[in-house]
């Protein structure tokens, strides 16, 4: 069998180093491609492997090659002649149909067009994070599962008394007692009975006296043995062992609220989407199950699916409180606080019907905030507005109203954003908290 070598078990991923080099090299193109594909994908899909298509710009590998199409002459041979005779002419494919022409001759081996490949979730996340300018520490907490649980991990010989495994301990003790022939209580009882009987025997003969002595000796020996062969020896004791294992704790529901009236354009929705994605990503790491509820509103709120949430438009006024009502309604119906951790993320351009803001604040203070783990509100502005509202205190009616809520509830955050990099600070406290827990 000297000819054969089974290499199948050899380590795989020999070209991993090359892949990293390639990703680094094509960084710009890949980044664009990932962002494009994130735009088209569902909020919950951020963590999947995904196919990206990139252009080969930046990863070209040029070589000198001949270009007989610009000038000069050459001959070539093709197979499969059917009707041609010498002197016939065959029209050239026009220059614009480059792909077609490529088939013709061996010297046009270019083939350097866009190509598609699959990126793993880690690679995608790295790029997603980079864009959001997440601090490194947060990246690691997001990539790892922070919460831990104690799981059984067999039996050990050391531990605290409350973890004693009685069955194992007793089994060991019993085995040891058997092996060392420790007299049982009944053995002693028998001996004592025999001794008593012998002592009662009157008149005492030499024989019985000798017997009594022997029995006493036996009894003393047995008692001594019971003393030095302990009923439970430290050797027998076993403890249940536990190790810490990371697990997602339980389940959470994430309410995505968004104003979809005409003033929310594609740019605003794209920013909002990243905001939801980040929150979803965070929740995914902490909870075993994450439900996402999409509520859109104009002057009237509806629960919709993701597709409709991001891509359809409605006309109408803007009454924010309808969305909050809707959220409460759904929460009461399906997500009892005992079983669910409730997170809410609201995106809006900051306009609402006058007087409604007051109503929103009441709702939040009285009903919603007591239920929620976290409530994040972002107001999406364009760069120009951003400058106008440089101070946190100035702003439209809704903003000012929400600021009062934020003062009262530490788990309520508000933020104005105009670029992807602005999103992360909204979750700052959320991530800070988990780091604290993990440490």
């Amino acid at each position: 069998m000297s000819h054969f070598i089974d290499r199948r078990l050899n380590p795989k991923g020999k070209s991993l180093a090359n892949r990293q080099r390639f990703l680094r090299r094509a960084r710009t193109q890949i980044r664009e491609a990932v962002q494009r594909s994130l735009k088209d994908s569902a909020v919950a899909d951020i963590e999947k492997d995904r196919k990206v298509r990139i252009s080969t710009k930046g990863t070209r590998e040029p070589r000198f090659r001949l270009d007989p199409r610009t000038s000069g002459e050459h001959d070539f041979v093709l197979p499969g002649n059917k009707e041609f005779v010498p002197g016939d002419e065959i029209k050239k494919p026009s220059k614009s149909e480059d792909g077609q022409g490529g088939k013709q001759a061996a010297d046009s081996g270019d083939g350097e067009d866009d190509f598609e490949f699959t990126m793993t979730q880690d690679e995608v996340l790295d790029i997603f994070f980079e864009d959001l300018e997440l601090p490194n520490l947060v990246r690691t907490t997001l990539k790892e599962t922070p919460s831990k649980v104690w799981r059984r991990a067999g039996i050990t010989t050391a531990g605290s008394p409350n973890q004693i495994n009685l069955i194992r301990t007793m089994r060991n003790s019993f085995g040891r007692r058997l092996a060392l022939k420790r007299p049982t209580l009944s053995d002693i009882g028998l001996l004592e009975a025999a001794l008593a009987k012998a002592e009662e025997d009157v008149p005492q003969t030499n024989e019985t006296r000798a017997k009594i002595v022997a029995l006493k000796e036996q009894l003393a020996k047995a008692n001594a043995k019971r003393k030095w062969v302990a009923f439970i020896d430290p050797l027998d004791v076993r403890f249940n062992a536990f190790t810490e294992q990371p697990v997602p704790t339980s389940q959470a529901v994430m309410f995505c609220l968004m104003d979809v009236s005409g003033s929310m354009g594609e740019r605003e929705k794209d920013l909002a989407k990243r905001f939801y994605m980040l929150l979803h990503l965070f929740l995914k790491r902490r909870y075993e199950r994450v439900d996402v509820v999409f509520i859109r509103h104009t002057h009237d709120a509806q629960e919709v699916d993701e597709q409709e949430f991001f891509y359809s438009r409605q006309s109408g006024g803007t009454i924010v409180s309808t969305a909050l009502d809707k959220m409460l309604e759904i929460q009461k119906e399906r997500y009892a606080t005992a079983d669910w951790n409730i997170y809410a993320a609201q995106a809006s351009d900051g306009y609402t019907q006058s007087g409604d803001a007051r109503h929103c604040v009441d709702l939040l203070n009285a009903e919603i905030m007591p239920l929620c783990q976290y409530y994040a509100y972002i107001e999406i502005l364009d760069e120009r507005e951003m400058e106008v509202f440089a101070s946190e205190d100035s702003g439209a009616e809704l903003w000012r109203a929400y600021r009062t809520v934020a003062e009262r509830w530490p788990n309520f955050v508000t933020k104005r954003i105009s670029r992807p990099a602005d999103i992360f600070p909204v979750f700052h406290d959320l991530f800070k908290k988990t780091e604290g827990q993990a440490a």
Binding site: N18, S71, E73, N81, G87
Partner: protein, 503 residues
């Protein structure tokens, strides 16, 4: 064929499609017996490795070598191949074989037993015989040393990355890769890169650096290099003032004479150059190499069947796969991607066998040397040993095969709106079509002829390159600019390329 009478075997070697190592071993021995005993092939010792599909992709993307230095272009190749494979566009090769001694063949674990037999016959005997006997491989590649050299190259590049940074190394490799086609000696045998000598040189250099080490150098500001070791005077190929122009090997020239490169950069260029030289014969032998392997596996599989060593089912499976390997789509077929080297090579070799065994009058006229001799293996072995694609086609392509392939020659001039059919597979056209096809495989014509003609070392250090155009065909403009940028990086000063007519 063979002197020993072969009785039909009692039982076939295998009946199940699944393979195991015992069956592989048994089958290998049977194939070996036929290859060495009947066909009298002459091969390097074989080493056969079973690998998974992922490892096959790995192997693809490192130029089919078992080890290779790291570079992003291999990662790109892998990503592309993997995407194609996962999407089902392309099947993996059944095997990869490496021209080394021992000759390493990779078999894919997913192959059926019949395919494993086919692949062993194809790679371990067909390609192997060709590697060992063809004059180009014998002259130009060092089968014994290649794996050691690659191991050295990998280590060396990794060490450079650690020392000078990835970006630096990447820049040199990028530039060197761009010039790989111009990094070979076409006409003279390159100085042999003896591993020992390379190591000895490096050792001496390191020793010098250690001796000359001075704590003070560490205080230099970043970017200032401590003085490198002085060039070690070796008698043969160090710079002696005479650049021996013109020089066709651009990488060699830059390695020896570039005014800006550091020692490690020159060593890196040399690695790429040696690699290019190693692959250079393969480029000129595609048709013959695949043809030889395909002919050998076809002959061996049929002999196995004749002797009752494989079942009829296996034979059918083999014929099915063989037929798809040697399929040649017509030029107007959308599957057409040039002439299939397997089809042409196998076709010509099977045709030689036919001419030896059952010649027609036409064959006797065209091939008087061997028509009707009956000993086709002698003719084939001679061809395998002493020809390359171009000369093989010029010498052995028969009129019958041209008719079978329906080959026709076209003339193309860039300004003309149409191709002109110059010759077809008829009495007056055979020779023209054959020569035209042969020239298509002449690497001297298919690839641009670029030489270093001068370097103004005393003046402004401009490097002069010249492309001698063959029949007025210029370089592709966009890629030319990109490659020249790489040359300038390696040369460190202006580079001028002029394109001149042949003369």
């Amino acid at each position: 064929m063979s002197a020993a009478p072969h009785l039909r075997a009692n039982a076939p070697l295998f009946t199940e499609p699944e393979w195991d190592f015992q069956t592989l071993d048994r089958t290998y021995k049977a194939i070996e017996q036929i290859a060495l005993g009947d066909l009298k092939l002459d091969v390097f010792p074989n080493q056969i490795e079973i690998i998974s599909s992922e490892q096959m992709l790995d192997a693809y993307s490192s130029l089919a070598m078992p080890l290779m230095y790291n570079h992003w272009s291999f990662g790109k190749l892998f990503a592309r191949e993997e995407a194609l494979y996962r999407a089902g566009y392309s099947a993996l090769a059944y095997e990869i074989v490496i021209n080394s001694s021992p000759c390493i063949s990779y078999l894919l674990e997913e192959n059926t037993m019949t395919m494993q037999a086919l692949v062993m016959a194809h790679a371990a005997f067909g390609h192997n015989h060709f590697f060992k006997n063809n004059y180009l491989f014998r002259q130009w590649t060092n089968a014994e040393g290649i794996l050691d050299y690659l191991a050295f190259a990998k280590k060396y590049v990794a060490a450079c990355e650690g020392r000078y940074g990835r970006d630096e190394v990447e820049a040199v490799l990028d530039a060197a890769h761009a010039l790989m086609d111009q990094g070979v000696f076409r006409y003279r045998r390159p100085p042999k890169p003896s591993k020992e000598r390379v190591l000895e040189k490096r050792r001496r250099r390191m020793q010098y650096e250690e001796e000359a080490y001075n704590e003070l150098w560490r205080t230099l500001p970043a970017g200032v290099e401590p003085p490198a070791a002085p060039p070690i005077a070796a008698q043969d190929e160090e710079f002696d003032g005479d650049m021996k122009l013109p020089e066709e090997n651009l990488l060699y020239f830059l390695e020896k004479h570039s005014p800006v490169l550091k020692a490690w950069q020159r060593e890196t260029l040399r690695i790429v150059r040696n690699l290019a030289q190693y692959f250079y014969p393969q480029k000129q032998l595609k048709v013959m190499n695949e043809g030889c392997a395909t002919f050998v596996h076809y002959t061996i599989m049929n002999l196995l069947y004749d002797r009752g060593l494989i079942t009829e089912g296996s034979l059918l499976e083999f014929i099915h796969s063989h037929a798809s390997v040697i399929y040649q789509p017509d030029f107007d077929d959308k599957r057409y991607y040039g002439i299939n080297p397997y089809a042409l090579g196998y076709g010509m070799m099977a045709d030689i066998r036919r001419i030896c065994e059952h010649p027609t009058d036409e064959d006797r006229e065209w091939f008087p040397q061997f028509a009707g001799t009956g000993d086709y293996m002698a003719t084939l072995k001679d061809a395998w040993a002493n020809y390359r694609d171009e000369s093989f086609i010029e010498q052995f392509l028969s009129p019958k095969l041209m008719r079978d392939f329906r080959l026709f020659g076209l003339f193309d001039k860039a300004d003309n709106p149409a191709y002109r059919v110059a010759s077809i597979h008829n009495e007056t056209g055979y020779r023209a079509v054959r020569s035209s096809l042969a020239r298509q495989y002449d690497i001297g014509i298919a690839e641009p002829n670029i030489q270093v003609t001068g370097a103004d070392l005393k003046g402004n250090r401009t490097l002069h390159l010249r492309h001698k155009m063959h029949r007025g065909v210029p370089l592709h403009l966009a890629t030319k600019e990109l490659v020249l940028a790489h040359v300038e990086r390696l040369w460190g000063h202006d580079v001028k390329l002029e394109e001149t007519a042949e003369g």
